[in-house]
């Protein structure tokens, strides 16, 4: 069995416990810094919108033999405006101008084909009117609104409203970080990027739902005991699903990374690459947030309720009692105790049931 497997085993039993919930202030600070940077870049730098959003014409000339200068010359003469000419991977020249009528763009495509020594039919071009981009953005935002409404409803019914809120906080976190990184690097935002971001919606929530389901299971009837606080139970859930979270992220990122590599090697810029980059950023953020943001926020919301406050008081009282009895441990309450007492019980558990393990050993011999 791989090391991760035995790590998973020890985390499941609470021997190794990462304090995700208790150290929420640390995670909040990290997230807050990333978010501030994201928002700052968004405000001051803005997004590099593709022509689909701001209107314009975009010509791709594969295997063009002309120089950037000559292509720009042709484009500016024909379009009567400014032209941006870049060379992308595998010798494709890309010409962007302000929006043109279909006739003008056809004429410009012909002129570029002549100048760059390729057939007009090989040129890929796109012309977008300036209002259309606004239309697409409006649709995407509408979709976002409706989706969030429905998903809040679902999470509230399936879990409870606090979980819905925590999941949405994590979602907003992921979306902001993804968009922020786009602004920071200056990657072009295309419809494919929008698809990617919208997928992150689904993925981020999917990831959070899996963790929350475990939290829900762990905290069922939690008020009927006085060993674990809600924070402890939630933290145990995150630890128990951590191996799954890591595996899932690896498995989800592998295909996306393969798109990025294949896309960059074979295609250069394009729909696939745009999509994969957005997904890679969003998925990484999604995994982070389901562990470090969603559950801590949930635990915080939940711990503020009267029942959980009462539970926390009871647990503290019980722990002080145990500490007095044993006397040896230097206990001052809180999370340290919980992981301590957990691992102690675990050892006791193993000692108390040694037969099962040895039976399987016997069988193999």
């Amino acid at each position: 069995m791989s090391k991760l497997g035995s790590l998973g085993q020890r985390m499941y039993r609470g021997e190794i416990s990462f304090d995700f919930v208790g150290r929420r202030k640390t995670w909040y600070t990290i997230s807050a810094i990333i978010l501030l940077v994201s928002i700052g870049t968004l405000v001051f730098r803005g997004l590099n919108l593709g022509i689909e959003f701001k209107g314009g014409a975009d010509f791709s000339l594969p295997n063009a033999t002309c120089t950037v200068e000559s292509a720009r010359g042709v484009a500016e003469t024909e379009s009567g405006g400014q032209a941006i000419v870049t060379v992308t991977g595998s010798g494709t020249v890309r010409v962007q101008t302000e929006t043109l009528t279909p006739n003008e763009s056809s004429i410009l495509a012909g002129a570029l084909a002549d100048a760059c020594g390729i057939a007009k039919d090989d040129i890929k071009y796109q012309v977008v009117g300036p209002t259309w981009g606004a239309e697409i953005s409006k649709k995407a935002l509408q979709g976002l609104g409706v989706f969030i409404l429905l998903v809040t409803l679902f999470l509230t019914i399936y879990f409870e409203w606090r979980m819905a809120v925590a999941a949405l906080v994590a979602l907003a976190h992921d979306l902001l970080i993804t968009i922020g990184i786009y602004a920071l690097i200056g990657l072009e935002v295309t419809p494919a990027t929008v698809i990617g971001v919208l997928t992150i919606l689904g993925y981020s929530l999917y990831d959070t739902v899996v963790v929350f389901d475990k939290v829900k299971e762990n905290t069922r009837g939690i008020t009927g005991q006085s060993i674990l606080t809600y924070d402890d139970a939630a933290n145990l859930a995150v630890n128990q699903t951590l191996v799954r979270s890591i595996n899932t992220s690896v498995v989800a990122l592998l295909p996306v990374l393969s798109i990025i590599v294949v896309g960059a090697l074979i295609l250069g810029a394009g729909t696939l690459l745009d999509l994969a980059v957005a997904l890679a950023i969003g998925m990484a953020a999604g995994t982070y947030s389901s562990i470090f943001v969603a559950t801590p926020v949930l635990a915080q919301l939940k711990s503020a309720t009267p029942e959980m406050k009462a539970l926390a008081t009871r647990v503290r009282a019980r722990r002080t009692q145990i500490a007095k009895k044993t006397g040896a441990d230097s206990v001052d309450g809180g999370d340290v105790v919980s992981s301590d007492s957990l691992s102690r019980s675990v050892e006791a558990g193993e000692r108390s049931q040694p037969k099962r393990v040895s039976r399987s050993k016997r069988k193999r011999k």
């Binding site: 998973g8 689909e52 012309v127």
Partner: protein, 533 residues
């Protein structure tokens, strides 16, 4: 302990087999087309997104008008004779957009065709000239100061009567200039018109219209029996037939056009301000049925018939997005997408195999089954509802590899948890499933919700992506329930897994056997075990 679960693995597996075989037979039924339809971005072609605007400012476009427009555009595009062309609408009311997709590379013709939106009318020809601009000169041949020159006039040149100014302007009109012969500006049918033909070969001076496009009831491209070339036959309504009878009687008596005669015996079919065709009348046409003869190719005849039949749209259309993708680029995208998908799938399988050993094999098989099911279902949907595979769709499928594999991971981790709780392997496969199933359904429901909302509210490539994402999620659930779970249960009952080995991925010893941690965490379980705790 939880109540024992009785899973009937063979029954579940046969249910999946029935579904798989059923779709396969449907997909590959002999004599039908069993290929996946590719979207424009993969096979190359032109896509034009049009936003309809009412002809009268401020008016509201009704659903009827929209449907009529789509029908007209569909007829025109079908008239191109390109298989798998599509005209679809997205949204409704003020937000409506029409998406025209034509595979193959005919960008200019597609744009031209869908843009021919405006008024169609028939006008008697006054006279025909060469395309060049002529400026009035004085006795010495020098241009007269302040006279009308080519830069002063553009199509359509209109006047209420055949005045001298009108004639000078027509003379100055430059029909070699593309802006003048490409059309796009509707003319006023009540007035005289000076314009060019759509190829910039000649220039016309035309009288007010005698028939409007709306008077045409039918137009067909035909190859008459015994005839030498293609003709376009026309049928008119009563009003059109009457006007045609009068006009043809008058016109057919006049001298041939192009000989400097004015008026002459031809009529011009004017679309969007330019002359599409200018046939001459051979004889009076009294029956309301006419045919246009000329040196038409089959294509030209069909195009002209389409223009005549569907010339006048109830709305004006503004092309807001014109995308052309060359077939070679499309091919590259397709192969890159497939390679990326294949590599991604392989990597995921290797990882799962490394981590989950025998269970990893089950996961790999499940992914293959899910992939196979997706393939045949896609073919069936291509056949039945015309679903096309786009690059965004491929991306959706690749992303789905991760989400599908996650279902297996959730299940396997649950089984491990159950074994850690001290359950036997056989029990763990079943009780672990019950817990994993709930998580799976909840998480997949969110995915399907996202896909459905995206599909309903978006335009273009986002839709294709959303559809594939939704489809793969449903397949994911199906495969997890009917393939992965029963297979794991069967494995769990096998001797190999029962013996326990480091290759099973579920070795109780390695996983740590029993723990009490969960007894503290999960109270429900704690209660069940009150005795031992």
């Amino acid at each position: 302990m939880a109540t024992p679960v009785r899973t009937r693995p063979w029954r579940l597996l046969s249910a999946l087999l029935v579904v798989l075989v059923g779709f396969s037979v449907w997909a590959f039924f002999p004599g039908t087309d069993s290929s996946i339809r590719l979207g424009l971005d993969l096979q190359g072609g032109t896509q034009v997104i049009l936003v309809p605007k009412p002809v009268v400012e401020g008016a509201v476009i009704t659903d009827d008008q929209l449907a009529q427009t789509v029908e007209i555009l569909r007829q025109r595009v079908d008239g191109l004779g390109v298989a798998e062309s599509e005209v679809t609408t997205a949204g409704s009311g003020a937000d409506a957009a029409i998406v025209v997709s034509v595979p193959g590379l005919n960008q200019d013709r597609v744009v031209e065709l869908v843009q021919q939106t405006a008024l169609l009318d028939f006008r008697p020809v006054w006279s025909v000239f060469g395309p060049t601009s002529t400026t009035p000169t004085d006795a010495d041949g020098a241009p007269i100061e302040g006279a009308v020159s080519a830069t002063d006039v553009e199509v359509p040149v209109q006047a209420t009567e055949n005045s001298v100014e009108f004639q000078t302007e027509v003379a100055a009109l430059d029909c070699l200039n593309p802006t003048n012969y490409s059309g796009g500006t509707p003319d006023n049918p009540e007035q005289w018109l000076g314009t060019c033909d759509q190829n910039g070969f000649s220039k016309y001076s035309l009288q007010p219209a005698f028939i409007k496009g709306t008077n045409v009831t039918d137009a067909q491209a035909q190859l008459p029996q015994g005839g030498v070339g293609w003709i376009v036959s026309l049928e008119f309504d009563t009003e059109g037939a009457g006007a045609l009878a009068t006009a043809s009687t008058e016109l057919s008596a006049l001298p041939e056009c192009g000989t400097g005669a004015s008026p002459c015996n031809a009529f011009a079919i004017v679309l969007d301000g330019v002359v599409v065709s200018a046939p001459r009348f051979n004889e009076p046409i009294l029956g309301g049925q006419a045919s246009i003869e000329g040196d038409f190719t089959a294509q030209e005849a069909r195009d002209l018939a389409n223009v005549l039949k569907y010339g006048a749209l109830p709305v004006t259309l503004e092309p807001v997005d014109v995308t052309t993708i060359s077939p070679t680029v499309g091919q590259d995208q397709l192969s890159a997408g497939l390679i990326a998908g294949g590599v991604g799938l392989l990597l995921v399988m290797v990882y799962l195999l490394f981590y989950y050993r025998v269970l990893g094999v089950v996961a790999g098989l499940s992914l293959v089954v899910a992939g196979g099911l997706l393939y045949v279902v896609f073919i069936v949907l291509s056949k039945t509802i015309g679903l096309t595979l786009t690059l965004a769709g491929i991306a959706g499928a690749i992303v789905a590899i991760g989400i599908t594999a996650d279902s297996f991971i959730v299940y396997f981790e649950r089984i491990r948890d159950e074994i850690r709780d001290g359950r036997s392997l056989r029990q763990a496969c079943d009780t672990g499933w019950i817990r994993a199933r709930r998580t799976l359904l909840a998480a997949d429901f969110v995915s399907i919700l996202a896909a459905a909302v995206l599909y309903l509210l978006s335009v273009g490539s986002v839709r294709g992506f959303a559809f594939v994402l939704g489809l793969t999620t449903v397949i994911d659930v199906l495969v997890a329930f009917w393939f992965t779970h029963p297979l794991v249960v069967l494995l769990g009952r096998s001797n190999f897994m029962q013996r326990g080995s480091r290759w099973t991925g579920l070795d109780p010893e390695r996983l740590g056997g029993v723990s009490l941690a969960d007894a503290m965490a999960g109270q429900s379980r704690r209660k069940r075990r009150e005795g031992s705790a």
